[in-house]
């Protein structure tokens, strides 16, 4: 159960930073999705608004996948283990 070593290789540092940033973006994206669902379930939006919101989220989702591919990461690479709090992205497939 050895902890992963910190790799100070600059290439790794850049990649790790990208994956950290994308993890945070992914977290926000998921929160936005959940918030959107909540708003719709509360019935506060018109059909057009729902359609716009859904399209925007769908695009965001697609862009996330593209960004990950661009940086040689897969969606399942995103995620932080917050120790006692569990993984940051609890609902990803990781």
């Amino acid at each position: 159960m050895n902890a992963p070593r910190v790799n100070v290789d600059p290439d790794h540092a850049a990649r790790d930073l990208v994956s950290l940033v994308l993890t945070l973006v992914e977290l926000l994206r998921q929160l936005m999705e959940r918030q959107a669902i909540r708003r719709i379930d509360e019935g506060g939006l018109t059909e057009d608004q729902e359609e716009a919101l859904g399209t925007a989220l769908m695009m965001l989702d697609r862009t996330m996948t593209e960004l990950c591919e661009h940086h040689g990461l897969s969606r399942s690479d995103l995620g932080l283990d917050l120790g006692p709090l569990g993984p940051l992205l609890a609902d990803t497939e990781w």
Partner: protein, 293 residues
């Protein structure tokens, strides 16, 4: 390996090692006269026979002379930083503690509990005699069983990229996307709730048979693998005669849960590593951040 004690290299920090040719590795504390010597094969290959060091009328320590060339503070610190060496040291420690436990109850000591000679060892261990007495009474005739409950992660993608996810612009595509997100979200929550409920059932069933239990922090996916989310990582102290009952009860609980992709993993019997730590010790280190029940 579940249940292995924490590593505490540098136990001998306040004791200069340089001028001594050998050090004393202490594996455990047990009843005096439990055995004379463990068969060869126990203990570190570099050391002498594993014997008992008398502490008081009732208790002895399970000890081995080890060469300081391999076990001085400096050398050991380096060795234990190497995952392979750490594993082999931990396995040796565990194997020896387990061998000693065949002769009666034992209180395992943390990995790398080392002293400069018998006098120092006796002085340090005797200071904790009340704890050892209490711990031996606590675990006598009992074994530790580890129970882990995890949720198998199925291939539900984080992004609901359904086949009809054609390039945007299609009428209703946005709302369809939201519907998929909603469905996946509901399923995820339901699966998780089901699994947590199953873990609670397993815990209730095991607790009913156990004398004591400890909840430990579930292992991260780093250890369990990305396809599993560990929900419960518990240890139960069980009377030796009830092991079969425990197995039966857990098998039933596991079978009940199987429908929800829940996996119940039982291992044991272990030397009661989880039930011999002093209760008054600071309990906030991450390794023991579990609550005692």
């Amino acid at each position: 390996m579940p249940g292995l004690p924490r590593t505490t290299p540098g136990r001998s920090a306040d004791q200069p090692c340089s001028d001594v040719a050998s050090a004393l590795w202490v594996f455990a504390v047990c009843h005096a006269g439990a055995f004379a010597e463990l068969p060869s094969g126990a203990g570190h290959p570099e050391g002498g026979p594993v014997t008992l060091l008398r502490l008081d009328d009732l208790l002895s320590a399970v000890v081995q002379d080890v060469p300081s060339s391999r076990f001085s503070e400096e050398v050991l610190k380096q060795r234990l930083a190497d995952p392979g060496e750490l594993e082999s040291c931990a396995r040796t420690h565990h194997r020896t503690v387990t061998a000693a436990a065949e002769h009666g109850p034992v209180v395992p000591l943390p990995l790398a509990t080392l002293f400069n000679g018998e006098a120092r060892a006796r002085a340090a261990l005797c200071a904790r005699l009340p704890h050892f007495h209490a711990a031996l009474t606590r675990v006598r005739g009992r074994e530790e069983w580890a129970v882990k409950v995890s949720l198998r992660q199925t291939g539900t993608a984080s992004a609901p990229s359904a086949p009809q996810d054609a390039p945007g612009g299609q009428a209703g595509a946005g709302r369809a996307y939201l519907t998929r997100v909603r469905g996946r979200e509901r399923e995820r929550v339901a699966r998780h709730e089901q699994a947590v409920a199953a873990a609670a059932r397993v815990h209730r069933a095991a607790s009913a048979l156990a004398v004591e239990s400890v909840q430990r922090r579930p292992h991260s996916p780093q250890i369990t693998g990305k396809d599993r989310l560990q929900l419960m990582n518990a240890a139960y102290l069980v009377d030796r005669g009830r092991a079969l009952d425990l197995a039966t009860v857990l098998q039933r609980a596991g079978a009940d849960a199987a429908s929800a992709d829940v996996e119940v993993e039982v291992s044991g019997p272990w030397v009661p590593y989880s039930f011999t730590e002093p209760v008054e010790a600071p309990d906030d280190s991450p390794e023991r951040a579990g609550s005692r029940t």
